[in-house]
């Protein structure tokens, strides 16, 4: 009997598509990589104890209540009108300082919204009114 040594053919996994898979993965990463750039509204906070006395005529009080309504110097202002009003106020007095007093129960986004609108109106000097008078 002739034992025919039949060479057991090795099961071949076709590797020709490996390159395709690799390229697909590369393209996936290329496309899905997000360079997250942080954006933010810039503020310079006042130093503690540096509270400067401001003339009343140079101060514009902006009040934000708990549902996000805005009052400037006591007058309710619609959101879309804030920027326009700010421009007008700055035209009359360009050294005007806007002080934002926000109700502690208001959502943060309301304050940011007002800040954003003030900036859109061209306000450069914006301050945040402290919760309580500074304890000295």
């Amino acid at each position: 009997m002739e034992l025919r040594k039949r060479e057991h053919k090795q099961a071949e996994i076709p590797t020709s598509s490996m390159a395709d898979i690799a390229f697909l993965l590369i393209v996936f990463f290329l496309v899905s990589t997000i360079f997250s750039s942080e954006m933010g509204l810039q503020i310079i906070l006042p130093e503690r104890g540096e509270e400067v006395k401001v003339r009343k005529s140079n101060l514009a009080r902006v009040y934000v209540n708990e549902i996000g309504d805005v009052k400037i110097d006591g007058e309710p202002v619609k959101l879309d009108m804030i920027a326009i009003q700010v421009k007008a106020m700055l035209a009359e007095n360009d050294s005007l300082i806007f002080s934002i007093k926000t109700n502690p129960q208001a959502n943060y986004k309301y304050m940011v919204r007002v800040f954003d609108r003030l900036k859109q109106g061209g306000a450069e000097r914006i301050s945040f009114a402290p919760k309580t008078l500074p304890k000295k």
């Binding site: 690799a22 954006m39 933010g40 906070l45 129960q105 959502n107 986004k109 800040f115």
Partner: protein, 135 residues
Amino acid sequence: MRFVKKKEGAAGIPTGSMADIAFLLIMFFMVTTVFRAETGLELLLPESEMGRKLPNRGIVHIYVNVKERISIDDKYYDAKQVSIVMSKKMQVDPTIIVSLRIDKDAKYDVVGDIFDQLSESKALRVSLATEKKRG
């Protein structure tokens, strides 16, 4: 005459090394991808139009989520402790910019406290993190 149509084999550019190149590229991207060092807190940032891009370095993040939990460098703090933490950071680098990543629906109360704490620790360069307004 029998035309033996000899199919001309495509000019053989050895494509066997394509897989190697591809894997090299993958390795390159895997290695150069920089992952964020801190997890922070899950939150939704408020929108704004006047936001400006922040530089890539020299930023300290303060996360405040909707439950008013404060996280700095992945450690939780109370509002009153913020000034101590920030004073230490200011000692290391006085030019840091503080990026306040506060959930848009967090109550303003805690934000006011944080502002006070930052004033005390003299970390005055602050940025309120926002998303670009869409639509």
